[in-house]
């Protein structure tokens, strides 16, 4: 442990072995190409094939509209489409927020004692076995024709993976770390907030990512059953009037919303908990 040994070890752990030179540059471009250009290229190819097939085989609009037509019609109705997008986004975020508010304490409760876990766990699983589409009309009668049933359905669809992720994370803390904090006379609260929750962060974010993706699904289910706005409502009314390009446009926007929200959760994780992403492989 004498200090003359430290530099040799520091060489191992410091990223000093950066390569340079033309060969490496080309290699890097190739890697970036693989990561970015390939998927984008494949996507453009798919759109092209789609567009060409629609033209060549004269596929009727009500079966499959061409991508350009979808874009044109969606753009033509943009103020309307935008309003519906915002309505759905609000439902998604409210449902997602409700999922977090309820899942966190529920996850703590589930892991706090065997008694609580035995009592609550079957109930939570039960909420998952109920088909949410079947539940939605009932919720409308119970909660009224407003935002509440939609948010409730969104919550019911989204919260389950989050609770499971939180509970799994809290329970997967190595016994070593628990012993460590106990050997310094930590209280149960200290153990929860200083050891268990930080350790569970990568798990919690996996749950959050699953939850945000499902929240979009839940919001649309809610809108199908009861709504006068939102992208789900737009799809229903458009198809009722055979405005297929607009329905497809709404679908594309839903996908984009899902992807953007999912990535946002990932970015929040990387910004607030940079160690979490590097731990993820070890943690899961």
């Amino acid at each position: 442990m004498s200090s003359n040994n430290a530099p040799s070890e520091s060489a191992i752990s410091s990223p000093a072995n950066k390569k340079s030179g033309i060969g490496f540059q080309l290699q890097r471009i190739w890697h970036v190409g693989q990561d970015v250009i390939l998927p984008i290229g494949a996507f453009i190819m798919l759109l092209l094939i789609w567009e060409l097939s629609v033209i060549t085989f004269k596929i009727p609009i009500y079966l499959l509209p061409a991508p350009t037509l979808i874009f044109a019609e969606t753009a033509a109705e943009w103020p309307l489409v935008w309003r519906h997008t915002m309505a759905t986004l609000i439902t998604v975020l409210l449902g997602f927020g409700l999922s977090i508010i309820i899942s966190l304490p529920l996850g703590f409760a589930l892991t706090s004692s065997r008694i609580v876990s035995n009592a609550l766990y079957p109930l939570i699983v039960l909420t998952q076995s109920i088909p949410k589409v079947a539940l939605a009309p009932i919720l409308v009668i119970a909660l009224g024709a407003n935002e509440l049933p939609r948010v409730t359905v969104t919550f019911l669809v989204a919260f389950f993976p989050l609770v499971i992720a939180i509970a799994t994370g809290l329970l997967s803390v190595p016994q070593d770390l628990i012993e460590l904090s106990r050997s310094y006379k930590s209280s149960r609260m200290q153990e929860l907030f200083r050891i268990r929750i930080p350790f569970a962060i990568p798990f919690i974010f996996s749950g959050l990512k699953a939850a945000i993706a499902l929240a979009v699904v839940g919001a649309v289910v809610g809108e199908f059953v009861t709504s006068d706005r939102g992208l789900g409502y737009l799809i229903q009314t458009s198809t009722a009037f055979f405005r297929m390009p607009l329905a497809f446009g709404a679908m594309v926007l839903l996908s984009i919303m899902g992807i953007v929200l999912f990535q946002l959760v990932g970015i929040i994780e990387r910004v607030l908990f940079p160690w979490s992403t590097s731990q993820q492989v070890a943690g899961t």
Binding site: M1, A6, S13, E179, L180, W275, S276, Q279
Partner: protein, 252 residues
């Protein structure tokens, strides 16, 4: 003065299927202040269990233990624990990891950070204070864990195979380093190890334990003068002590 008194201590674990497993049976051991003592023995002889009992992490089924004259009824502030794994918190920097005991025990003082920095420097980790554990090698992580155990200046250091996960070279280096720290700041050290040479090299006394149920087989005094380096391995006394320990463990 006696730092640790263990009298008639037994520990029985209840397994899942209801069977009782006797991990320790009738352990008697007194450890004087500032003595370096090693617990050796085959797997399952209860040496880690004994350490956890001393640390107050588990309670004995029978018998009693005193530390500095008062009964052990839970973890205590005058103890520092070093585990086999470094058990550093991955979300904290090295400095914050070392300060963790103080912050848990709410003993942070204005000069605490300087104390932690000095310890890290002593352990050859200067310049790594703001790094996270996953950026360090296993040996460096274990040194940081040692710093963490020392940060509140405990009178007693309980070490559970602290160098077991390290490679042979780092391991030798760490044992000498521990001896040096112990000479500078004398403490009572209870050191669990699988390595006979490590035990003989470092200890004032080696406690050999036997398994099923865990018992103390023999306590061997190591009469080798200090300071010790690896050169003492060539001494006759060293060979005799190591032979005796090996004979007790393997029967050969």
């Amino acid at each position: 003065m006696t730092a640790i008194e263990i009298s008639n201590v037994s520990k029985v674990f209840q397994s899942w299927d209801g069977d009782a497993v006797a991990a320790l049976e009738n352990i008697n051991l007194d450890i004087p202040e500032n003595q370096f003592i090693s617990l050796v023995g085959p797997s399952g002889c209860g040496k880690s269990t004994l350490l956890r009992l001393l640390g107050g992490l588990i309670t004995p089924t029978d018998g009693n233990m005193r530390i500095a004259g008062s009964p052990v009824d839970g973890p205590r502030e005058e103890i520092g624990f070093v585990f086999q794994k470094a058990t550093l918190l991955p979300w904290k920097t090295l400095l914050d990891n070392v300060l963790f005991p103080l912050s848990i025990m709410k003993q942070m003082k204005p000069d605490s950070e300087q104390v932690a920095r000095n310890l890290l420097a002593l352990a050859g980790l200067e310049g790594f204070e703001e790094k996270h554990p996953d950026e360090l090698s296993g040996g460096m992580q274990q040194r940081a864990a040692l710093c963490r155990a020392l940060v509140h200046d405990p009178d007693i250091l309980l070490m559970d195979e602290p160098f077991g996960a390290l490679d042979a070279l780092t391991r030798e280096e760490m044992s000498l380093e521990l001896l040096r720290i112990w000479t500078e700041k004398p403490k009572t050290i209870v050191f669990v190890t699988h390595s006979i040479t490590e035990a003989v090299l470092m200890s004032d006394r080696v406690v050999v334990m036997s398994p099923r149920p865990g018992r103390i087989q023999e306590i061997i005094d190591i009469p080798i003068p200090r300071p010790r380096t690896f050169e003492v391995e060539a001494l006759n006394e060293f060979q005799q002590c190591a032979q005796r320990v090996r004979y007790l463990i393997t029967g050969k």
